[in-house]
Subunit: 154 residues, 2 copies
Amino acid sequence: MAEPRWLDDRQSRAWLGYRRMRLLLDAQISRDLHRDSGLSDADYDVLSALTARQDRRWRLQELADRMLWSKSRLSRHISRMEERGLVSREECATDGRGAVIVLSEGGWRAIQEAAPPHVESVRRHLIDLLTDEQLDALGDISDIVLSNLASDDA
Amino acid sequence: MAEPRWLDDRQSRAWLGYRRMRLLLDAQISRDLHRDSGLSDADYDVLSALTARQDRRWRLQELADRMLWSKSRLSRHISRMEERGLVSREECATDGRGAVIVLSEGGWRAIQEAAPPHVESVRRHLIDLLTDEQLDALGDISDIVLSNLASDDA
DNA sequence: TAGCGCTCGTTGACATGTAAACCAAGTTCG
DNA sequence: CGAACTTGGTTTACATGTCAACGAGCGCTA
């Protein structure tokens, strides 16, 4: 490889800033979530995905795809959430191999209670700190990066 | 709690975009790093921190503070890196309890070889996709979020 | 319809993170 | 000085993630 194109000051500030923000912001929001509702990030994401469906149920594989998780990760996590009464497994009527993940009554209550303080936390640590222009810039950047990654895959 | 202040479209786009970008971008850059040089993100961060010092050595606690890692995490990670010949431990001359982490010759070579393709990966998936204005916006956002978190602590 | 290959979900073996207990070495203060 | 407290690092117990192998069921095709 020829002399690498190192990052200049502006680029370096953006990259290091992003990395450190990611490290600290996510940790803080996770801590808030866990303190306020006893849920982990992963728990919250699973419960959110389940409520996004009217019948509050997903096939395991579909849910894993949507969340960009491995099947194995989701299967293990569902087992733990099942023990805590947040979700349950049912057999799939149309596929003997299938597992259907269902939001339980307890899971519904948990996400209902967790959501308001979680939104407040996200606002306090990120959203309410930014101008509309900055929010748009963050949305734009995410779109650009994500569509670039998607085109890599193809 | 009164009716929560849910996120509007602009805010929601920024937040969900950030979350998904973080998930996919970091995974991709980690994969590239591991494929190109056999190092994990954590390995790379430790080696980078060590090279930032002229004498290429840090007290364990100081290094943990700088990286925002727990002592226990760093201690374990150093043990694994030690087995691979990337770093070594030395006793501390001024504090009998202390451990000094030293970059080894192998670690120096590893980071030298890893850095150029890593920078390319960061450029390809993030930096080179953005305009100067977007880079500045990302830097600004990070600064705002980080200084807000710092003031929370105080 | 029998066989073969693929998919679905689970699991075993292992990598890595956290929280808390622990030991040893410093430090403070009567 | 010396007991009590603090600090630095390691370790134990456990939580959670990955990869690869597995068993069971689906479905194409000969």
